[in-house]
């Protein structure tokens, strides 16, 4: 039920992001969703892509510092209170969120929230027991 995410270390300088998108374009890799965490000096680009292995390979070849992390994708109806229904459960079980980001599915009916937890297995367990929809990686890569 877990999702592989690729994080890339980037300096805050013009052209930094463009190098990554060009490499992915040339390798014919499709980005499903992304987020950037930034400070004044550096940023971390986090990607979910259609082909994890190929992405790791081409970025490593180009000398990028990358890390593979496990995240959890939760699908909720795209309406008021959607995110809250997840947070309520997490909060009730004292589960800490390291970071999260979200996107809306093509159909427009559902939103997908990507979570980074300290302990993803425990979090998935709690989410499933509370009848929330956890998307498997394969499903997300091919959305």
């Amino acid at each position: 039920m877990k999702v592989d995410q690729i994080s890339i270390f980037l300096e805050n300088k013009p052209g930094g992001l463009e190098r990554v998108t060009r490499i992915l374009k040339e390798a014919n890799i499709n980005i499903r969703t992304l987020s950037i965490a930034d400070t004044s000096e550096f940023g971390i680009l986090r990607l979910i892509v259609n082909d994890v292995e190929a992405t790791v390979r081409v970025l490593k070849e180009d000398g990028f510092r990358i890390s593979r992390t496990t995240v959890v994708a939760v699908e909720v109806p795209d309406r008021p209170g959607g995110l809250h229904s997840i947070m309520e459960v997490l909060s009730g079980h004292d589960i800490n969120v390291e970071y999260l980001y979200a996107f809306v599915e093509k159909s427009g009916e559902n939103a997908v929230i990507i979570f980074r937890f300290d302990n993803p297995d425990q979090a998935i367990d709690v989410l499933l027991k509370n009848n929330l929809t956890v998307l498997p990686g394969a499903k997300l890569y091919s959305l």
């Binding site: 270390f9 980037l10 300096e11 930094g16 930034d38 510092r65 992390t69």
Partner: protein
């Protein structure tokens, strides 16, 4: 007004008398180091020279050089020429363990040093009626205590301010009314600027003279300091290995080059690569031999400072040769706010931190009046593979900043950079980008 000279007899010795004195003292120190310091016995023997072979001052060039590396290899007390029971003071330059250099002083060494610093103050026009604000750092660094003892020897009133706490320094400059100040030139400018920012008229303080050293500075900076503080700014030179501050000092009369106290030191300029002694007046690396030091005598010590000697007589009447402004370094040492920093020391700190690779670049700049040091470090594969979180990387940055501060005593800014964004070089000097306009 008559020129004031602290030790008129020794500071104005006619050249031939001075050289005879130097030679007599040189013979004594060579005998002493050869018989008491294993290092000198070994290097002299390896060079096939015995102290008795040195029959003139010019023969000095037959002796091997002593380098900073030799000092490090004999850390901490290997080059001391007296037992510890005769040592009354220790000082050390900054450095990671085993890399700093330690110097010792006997009671008589402290007396000599105090006298030489007193000579410096008198050359700056000071008397016992002056109040000296001493903002050189007190501690292992020789600046603070060196200037302090000299001021007391002169009989002046010394304010042992040490470095830092700039607002308090400005308050004391206003309230105690010191007439002279000792610090690094960049700190003098910092004081001037902060004082102005606090609404203090820094030109109307009682200060009339400043004795600045421990870092390279330019004539432009001198003009700036003189203008902003309405004082006369003078240059002082020294290094802990040779003694500390007070090896050489500019006089108010000449203001062109610093008189080297030649009754206590022999100075040579050499070609940094060949080691050949250069004729006076040619720019080269400055080499010192101490003539009177008991605890830590040095023979032909390579300072790595590049300057030229001025042999023309000075208006002040001192017969001692002068050294011009430091034009640069013949190695990669950086001087950041008065603290000596070698890129190799930064490297030692970086490799000591788990998960870091020693790929780094140092960028030295000057923001306003203060030197800044930025350490650019490549994020290693291992570090990033284990953590994709901002907080982990920021924690790593803070750790590097703290370790550099702890080991080297200098505040640096750390910037994590992408791999290979730093150029790979074989040489060391290219690790450094110095953007300061001195």
């Amino acid at each position: 007004m008559a020129v004031m000279i602290y030790n008129e007899e020794f500071e104005t010795l006619p050249r031939e008398v001075l050289e005879a004195l130097q030679f007599k003292r040189l013979q004594q120190v060579l005998q002493r180091v050869y018989h008491t310091v294993g290092f000198y016995r070994r290097t002299f023997d390896a060079a096939g020279v015995k102290p008795d072979d040195i029959r003139t001052l010019a023969d000095l060039s037959r002796l091997p050089f002593t380098s900073k590396q030799d000092l490090r290899e004999n850390y901490p007390f290997g080059l001391f020429a007296v037992p510890m029971s005769s040592v009354v003071r220790l000082h050390a330059s900054s450095g990671t363990t085993g890399r700093s250099t330690v110097v010792g002083y006997t009671k008589r060494d402290i007396d000599t040093w105090s006298e030489l610093m007193a000579r410096c103050f008198v050359a700056a026009g000071l008397t016992k009626n002056d109040i000296i604000h001493n903002a050189y750092g007190y501690g292992l660094f020789t600046g603070g205590l060196g200037a302090h003892y000299g001021a007391e020897r002169l009989g002046a009133s010394v304010i042992p301010m040490s470095g830092g706490n700039t607002k308090r320094q400005i308050m004391i400059l206003q309230d105690f009314g010191p007439t002279a100040i000792c610090c690094t030139p960049s700190y003098a400018l910092n004081l001037a600027e902060q004082g102005q920012a606090m609404g203090v008229d820094m030109r109307s303080l009682r200060l009339r003279v400043g004795i600045f050293g421990a870092e390279p500075w330019s004539d432009q900076m001198r003009d700036q300091i003189e203008d902003q503080l309405a004082i006369q700014a003078l240059n002082i030179y020294g290094l802990s290995e040779v003694m500390g501050p007070g090896v050489a000092m500019e006089c108010t009369e000449g203001r062109e080059g610093m008189h080297i106290f030649e009754d206590h030191f022999i100075v040579e300029t050499i070609h940094p690569e060949t080691g050949a002694v250069l004729p006076p007046g040619e720019e080269g690396e400055i080499v010192f031999t101490t003539l009177s030091k008991e605890a830590f005598p040095l023979i032909r010590y390579r300072t790595r400072d590049v300057a030229r000697l001025i042999t023309a007589p000075c208006r002040c009447g001192r017969s001692h040769v002068r050294m011009g402004r430091i034009m640069g370094r013949s190695d990669d040492m950086l001087i950041i706010r008065g603290v000596n920093v070698f890129p190799s020391q930064i490297e030692a700190v970086l490799v000591g931190i788990e998960g870091l690779e020693p790929h780094y670049q140092l960028v030295v700049d000057r923001e306003g009046t203060l030197d800044t040091l930025e350490v650019q470090v490549e994020v290693s594969e291992r570090t990033f593979a284990n953590a994709d979180e901002v907080k982990v990387l920021q924690k790593m940055e803070r750790r590097i900043v703290k370790d550099i501060k702890d080991y080297l005593g200098v505040s640096a800014k750390v910037k994590l950079v992408e791999p290979k964004s730093l150029q790979r070089f074989e040489g060391k000097a290219s690790r450094v980008t110095d953007r300061r306009k001195l």
